[in-house]
Symmetry: C2
């Protein structure tokens, strides 16, 4: 079928977009909704059924006479492979187009092993998980990957990622695409977490900020229900905003960065300096839970430092919701209280009166859900559907 002009017109992809709300519709309803001729509607439905995006069902609310045929989006026909890769930890999932998680796996996987080792492991794991769910590669419509560093969105390649030796400019989409036979989308891990949290837990919210406090600190930004990636895909890098006149040197080369005083690595270092045996941000939270007043105090103070930066950002951006995620968010009210304290004291009342500041609802799953959302939004975009069906 012709694909010219479908960006402006009503192609098969746009018709599928109408059906994505889950409601089955008859030919007559689709003709009315689109303004297309009945014959054109039938032609596009046939094409969508050939590709199994749509299934025929029966119109259950037909008013008398024989029931008219109705057509519905077939959300289980294809699956997405989703991966959230952190500094040392990976979480994978197989998810269908209705966002149901069919299989899930978590593993220790050091990202500094380099791209080929990491991605080879990923391909094998995905193949095993597909087999577990009785699916195969022909049913995979896309792969979504979150990486712990800056990613150029258009090419899906990491850009000078500080904690990922060997990954700079590595062609992740091409490498994985060859082995998995599907389009691959790559983004920064915090961006996909923001997408996941927004799509699943807060679809009604226009402006949301997801801040991850782990080893480092970064945030994902949703403006007008869309991810704001910025001009170089570098938006949300709040970990290197200056917070104090202290002389703490940050790994970025500047002094007084938020991350250098409030990140999990900084807190662990502060505890080690006092002779406590901790490695990373998870240990700091575990210590707090075990009753350490020092750890609790560090976490509360880290919350205040994050709150100081977010207070400025609330004035600038005026979000409806700030979601706190990452390992340190597991400390719950200790970190939230510090953040709220400073935001309510420093930001403008107009911007805070309806502001919600909360812990992530998805927790560890925010990344894989977000990676799947990114893929589904791309694969099911009307233009992509039309292209796929023409090819």
């Amino acid at each position: 079928m012709p694909s010219e002009g479908t960006a402006q017109g009503i192609g098969a992809g746009a018709m599928l977009a109408i059906l994505r709300d889950g409601q089955a519709r008859t030919r007559a309803e689709l003709a009315q909704l689109t303004g297309l001729a009945r014959s054109t509607v039938s032609q596009r439905l046939d094409a969508l059924m050939d590709h199994r995006w749509v299934v025929a069902t029966e119109d259950s609310i037909s008013s008398g006479g024989r029931p008219a045929a109705a057509f519905a989006f077939n959300e289980s026909v294809r699956v997405v492979l989703a991966a959230d890769l952190g500094a040392s930890h990976a979480r994978l999932a197989v998810i269908d187009l209705g966002m149901t998680v069919l299989a899930e796996r978590a593993a220790e996987l050091p990202i500094d092993g380099g791209p080929e080792a990491t991605l080879t492991w990923l391909v094998t794991a995905f193949q095993e998980m597909l087999a577990e769910t009785g699916r195969d590669l022909t049913q995979v419509c896309g792969v979504g990957v979150g990486l712990p560093g800056p990613v150029e969105h258009a090419s899906g390649r990491p850009v000078n990622p500080p904690i990922m030796p060997g990954w700079d400019a590595f062609p992740v989409p091409e490498w994985l695409g060859e082995r998995l036979g599907a389009p691959v989308l790559v983004d920064n891990d915090v961006n996909i977490m923001a997408l996941g949290e927004h799509w699943t837990a807060r679809p009604e919210v226009d402006h949301l900020i997801f801040i991850k406090i782990g080893t480092g600190i970064g945030c994902g930004i949703v403006s007008d229900r869309r991810l704001h990636r910025g001009a170089q895909g570098a938006a949300g890098d709040v970990g290197h905003i200056r917070v104090t006149s202290s002389d703490v040197v940050c790994r970025c080369g500047n002094v007084g960065c938020l991350e250098a005083v409030a990140g999990g690595a900084a807190m662990a270092a502060a505890l080690r300096a006092e002779g406590v045996d901790v490695q990373g941000s998870r240990d700091v939270v575990a210590l707090m839970r075990a009753g350490s007043a020092t750890a609790a105090q560090l976490i509360r103070q880290a919350g205040r430092e994050v709150g100081g930066v977010m207070a400025s950002i609330v004035n600038f951006f005026n979000p409806s919701v700030i979601v706190i995620g990452g390992d340190i968010a597991e400390a719950g009210e200790h970190v939230l209280a510090g953040i709220r304290e400073v935001i309510y004291s420093r930001s403008l009342p107009l911007a805070t009166q309806h502001l919600s500041i909360r812990a992530s609802e998805l927790g560890d799953r925010a990344g894989v859900i977000g990676a799947a959302v990114m893929v589904v939004e791309h694969v099911l975009a009307p233009g992509t559907i039309d292209q796929t069906m023409a090819g």
Copy 2:
């Protein structure tokens, strides 16, 4: 004509949107671009011509035979009334749909005279300007107004504006709409300046920040080519971000706000404390131009303070362009140098490598151009056109 389903389909409004690029098109071209039947295309063109949105012309590039009729957007058919109201100064313009300024006027107009006095003056001035251009109220398709305070975008009403006594919740759109007989859109003055600068000078840019440094300090934000107003329309209020540990009390009740150390009013106060006779931000710039080293130093330091706040915002938002406007921007390189100095020293290299930091190209006109852009985008939106034509 029916308006059902046009949000998804190709109504007359969507067809007009295609013609807004200025290119004339034949019925056949429009049928191909939209996927609509030729008869539907003709029906919609007739409706658009009835309302004079579209004019028939001849297809100059027809290949042999008699020339086919072609259809073009009629950009001079209607005009927009645009007003940029500041604390003490107003600028008005009559602008056509191709964004040509047909008449322009500037006047001293104290906003603290209250809404009825100010808007009564505005109505009279607009009527005089329309008469000058040989137009009348029947040709006005919309009115755009910028106000120097927070505005709830949906209702167009000021929300607790600090320097506008009597304006809180005043129904500006209804009041003006009754007298001018056209839809009225109201927004914060810095938002419309950002729109104007983006639309006219930088249409290719996705992410732009316009920062106005006048008596106070505020910014307008363009994300993904659209104005980011925030959840309460309060986005961009950077004047009250904390910049120092100084104990300067701001009019907002907090201490150390950017505006309280780097706004025009703060600079003028600092000069008066040294016995210099200055009133506002324009006097400070005039003094610098007359050779005052103290004024130049104050302006440079104000640039550094603004740069400190913008450095954080560059990390968070990753814009392509930062435009500096307002009275203090007239100081040119003195203020730009201070801003650039701190941004390049504090922001991440990835976010600054292609960042452009410049003075406004539109200068005093940014507001009225932006007010007109706001109206044109609303009036010519496909949904609005379909509604207008159905009603």
